[in-house]
Subunit: 209 residues, 2 copies
Amino acid sequence: MDFLSVSSFIKDYEDHCDKVQHKHFKKNETITTYIAKRNQVCILVNGEADLIRYDYNGNKTIVEHFTKNDIFGEVFYSITTNNELFVQARQDCDVIFLVYDNLKNKCKSNCKFHQTLSDNLAELILHKVTILNSRIELLTKRSTRDKLIGYFSILSTRNLSKSFKLPFSLTDLADYLSVDRSAMMRELKSLRDEGFIEKTGNVITLLYR
Amino acid sequence: MDFLSVSSFIKDYEDHCDKVQHKHFKKNETITTYIAKRNQVCILVNGEADLIRYDYNGNKTIVEHFTKNDIFGEVFYSITTNNELFVQARQDCDVIFLVYDNLKNKCKSNCKFHQTLSDNLAELILHKVTILNSRIELLTKRSTRDKLIGYFSILSTRNLSKSFKLPFSLTDLADYLSVDRSAMMRELKSLRDEGFIEKTGNVITLLYR
DNA sequence: AAAAATCTGTTGCAAAAACAACAAAAAAAT
DNA sequence: ATTTTTTTGTTGTTTTTGCAACAGATTTTT
């Protein structure tokens, strides 16, 4: 992985950069709501969180799933959206908040954290782009089956193993793949019956190839 | 729009930056194929192009649609993809090619183009992220109808008008929304019959709100 | 100007997905 | 330890989507 690990210089931040805030969140708390005017940038230092959207029908979508070192925030969104977007902690989280425009200027104390972050900004955002592109690839798959298989192979690659634990409940997985839960369950059953996967709780094992 | 217009400094490039290449493409020509090793970055100076993927079933997906000043290239993709991705010119195009890693170093002639591009890289990529996020929002819509309406309202906003011309043929629109063409045509007909839209050729007019 | 290729509009039918609902299991809260 | 809430697994039914096929229109090529 050729992107910058935020945690590697997080300690430098401790000496009071006046442009950033640091906050802790408990599981299920709302970390931020996207209002699209503050140009907020958030860095997940620790924990897991989801970007969530509800549509007019009450359908929940897990738009993105964030883990350690991921960046998110309303600066990554343009006004188009009329649905409310918010980020919710899936586990206890530590989050750094900053304002994009401040990042480009130096901070008062001219701190190293600020400087490093600024220098590596393009790299960080670039990494985000690659994540979003895999997400798009997943979402353009035509069937629920292909989405499942596609997602499983991402997890398999990431874990360097045919076996892996889903980071979601099955209910949330459906919301992440943007499909109906019961239809997904049926498909999951078929995949099992046809010998493509094994499933014990939320641990999946790929049996193909 | 708060992102940098590439064309505004393209003239500075003319004085021989040794790190970039400039090429012209005729309609339907393949501009590049994503091989994911060269870290290529491309800038569309003029024209229109699509990033295309074919899946194992022969389904075509228009993954992205590029217009003037858009950036693309394999550097935005991680290895995950096993399907071939390529960019095809929809109109005659002018494209600048460079290698991401070269961008971070200065070029021999220390040219202004190179410098400006490098300075504004984060901004350019950030703009791409916002585009990808709207794309994701579109793709997570649950029905063909919602995808159509969602896409139409993006075009409507972009054109500042209830009427707009589709940048695609209807065949391509289906591939862009990742749905079956005939099903989409049926839905389009319903939208017309129910008085939501008007359609003359590939000009759509929104009648709601 | 004619021929070839692509796109549009449409339909019947098959397949997949969504909806709705419920009981059992598991997890979380008290 | 018990209650409450959430998740899982399942299924019947309805709706939506995909597939296949074709004729007419339009565009592109020769």
